[in-house]
Subunit: 401 residues, 2 copies
């Protein structure tokens, strides 16, 4: 999908400033056939696909050079973000080496990271190929990982990006309102999912992640939780919890939220105590995390605060991180608010920065045999703390039907 | 997008047979957060996304083991293609090492390739991480590239895959018919593109590549050719060539075809001689290539045959390959029918095999100042030659208006 040039320009400007901040001379994004094997950073800095081996080079002194296959040069020029576009026909090696010789960078950042998937767009084959291209030069020894650059580029949102995220949140919340009218006992998880996807399409939006798993719908203890599929057999049922994990992508930017309802059985006028207590614990955990969230804090500390609220209340520990960045992807790059588990690598140690947009999310499984209680909110990190940019759910409503 | 299980099962079966054919003990697809950083092979062997570090292991003796993050195990099981699904919570290292120790493979193929992008799904960061996981074991030294396996898996189409490709071709050809009614002088390239995308959506199809560049529309010498964008200013014009490069993706399988029309000026009853001669040369080049296309031949030989027809007729050499595989992607993996240029790496040397589906495509730029004449057909390689599976264009029609 092609972006309006403004965001691509904003992000490439930001990249130049980041190279200065991190004292790296050049940043090289090296890609091919990006339709299927895309580098996750490409939509931010180009907003279109490339077919042949292509090099996008940003330098600390402000160069923005794209070396691309002939036939794609006009399209790249039309973005306005790349002020020097070098087309080639037979092979990229010569123009690439000529360009590097002219720029003479002491360090060249390339897109790999052990920890952050969104900074890890360089494939292993392309890394080997780049080293082949640079084999007879001094530049092969000057490659460094670009993960710091990309992490900051993705996670420090510009005003245009924030505006789009806020719109995605507004549409997502609107659809939660609509589905709470549509939902009633007997509706299957699949019917709920189809209704919501239809509403997203009606708003000109896509789902924020794979449509088959967006929304994730749970209607009781038998539903797949986490990254499961909505069931065509299971349906909303009195005396159980109805829970949704959903977000839309609008103009390329995402929301990711969870909401929960209690489905009253005949004669019930309030959720059962155990359900209410689980819900209140989830709310307290999310708000305790938000209270502590501010620039400079490592993600694992926020996770620990929320996690401790849950375990102190006597519930089992949830088996995922308390939060992640949101932006062009529902799971955006730049670290997690997560525990120091192997699977998160070094990402829980990254520090929170102003302009980050993060989820706060957690849940309690199978509350009194009635299903899954989970919530997910979105916050924007300010200079001194954070503010909710979703309208936080603090009351567990009774589903009306 | 989730496939019907049948194709995923067919492809995983095929993978087991390929391991035997190539004498490789195990094939490991190692991925994370595939929504944005997907391995191109994943849709063939799983058909859904994975979030945490995940290992899909196929062995020569028929094991199909998926080690995935908890919460995704149920979804993976539901494909039916993986008969052992191992969920983990904190980190993949231990279950991965236990599994490898049990299987004790002498060779482990992993997904990287210098040449074939569709076999190069392992990122460099993930390659480093895998080596960290295997550091204290014998298995780190047993990694080999999986490119032969993936190339064969992608490019030897199963009957179900062929059926889907034929349907995508049928819909694409139907839309070419419809747009030839819609097209008339004054219609802009953008209007043509929007009409075709609308028709694709109406047929339940997506575009076979990035919708902003699908179709590629050219209306005369000022249009961007190759991978450009349709213009909102340029329009179909009498005395010029109207040309489209387009394909739909239907049920995850693609078509990729080009068609051309001559737009008569007042009083013209046939295309001008120079346009007709260019068109006839393109047809002749494509059919000469098809006549030579058969199993065992290297791709560059087919390219040379078509290219020579064009240059012998006195036209400049076209600056792209004569053909590529088509399947789940418009540019599918498995080699090109292309010249021995650096940018194609070793892919022109791969041999053609039965069951391959390839394009034959080429064009002549700016024919007599009237625009771009290009055609693209699709063929299926049989045991002894090839057959057209598109209905080849052999006549240059006059656009009726």
């Amino acid at each position: 999908m092609r972006l309006t040039p403004s965001i691509v320009n904003e992000k490439v400007d930001q990249a130049v400033a980041l190279l200065e901040e991190f004292e790296i001379d050049a940043w090289l994004t090296f890609v091919r056939e990006t339709t299927e094997a895309g580098d996750p950073v490409l939509p931010l800095i180009l907003g279109q696909n490339l077919t042949w081996q292509s090099a996008l080079i940003v330098t600390r002194s402000g160069d923005r050079i794209a070396i691309v296959g002939k036939y794609e040069d006009d399209a790249v020029k039309s973005t306005g973000a790349w002020n020097e576009v070098v087309p080639y026909v037979k092979g990229i090696r010569q123009p690439l080496l000529e360009t590097l010789t002219r720029l003479a960078p002491q360090t060249i950042a390339v897109n790999y990271s052990l920890d952050d998937v969104k900074s890890d767009g360089l494939t292993h084959g392309m890394f080997l190929l780049l080293n082949e291209h640079l084999a007879e030069t001094v530049y092969g020894g000057r490659l460094v990982p670009a993960d710091r650059i990309i992490r900051a580029l993705r996670s420090r949102k510009t005003p245009s990006e924030l505006e789009r995220i806020r719109k995605a949140i507004a549409v997502t919340q609107q659809i939660f309102g609509e589905v709470s009218e549509f939902a009633q006992p007997g509706r299957t998880e699949m019917e709920i999912a189809e209704f919501m996807r239809g509403r997203a399409a009606g708003c000109g939006a896509q789902t924020a992640w794979d449509a088959n798993q967006c929304p994730i719908v749970t209607t009781g203890p038998d539903s797949m939780i986490g990254h499961g599929y909505p069931s065509a057999e299971l349906s909303i049922h009195p005396g159980r919890i109805f829970h949704l994990d959903f977000g839309v992508m609008l103009d390329d930017y995402c929301a990711d939220l969870q909401r929960a309802w209690y489905v009253p059985a005949e004669g019930e006028t309030a959720p059962p105590d155990d359900v209410q207590r689980a819900f209140d614990t989830v709310v307290k955990a999310i708000h305790s995390a938000a209270d502590a969230l501010k620039p400079g804090v490592q993600g694992w500390r926020i996770d620990e605060i929320a996690r401790t609220v849950v375990t102190d209340a006597g519930y089992p520990e949830y088996q995922h991180a308390t939060g992640h960045h949101v932006g062009r992807a529902a799971h955006d790059g730049g670290g997690v608010l997560g525990p120091k588990w192997e699977r998160y690598g070094r990402t829980p140690f990254y520090k929170i920065e102003p302009g980050n947009v993060l989820t706060l999310e957690l849940g309690i499984e199978n509350t009194g045999g009635r299903g899954y209680i989970g919530l997910e909110e979105m916050v924007l990190v300010t200079d001194t703390g954070c503010e909710f940019i979703s309208t936080p759910q603090t009351i567990l409503p009774m589903l009306e039907y």
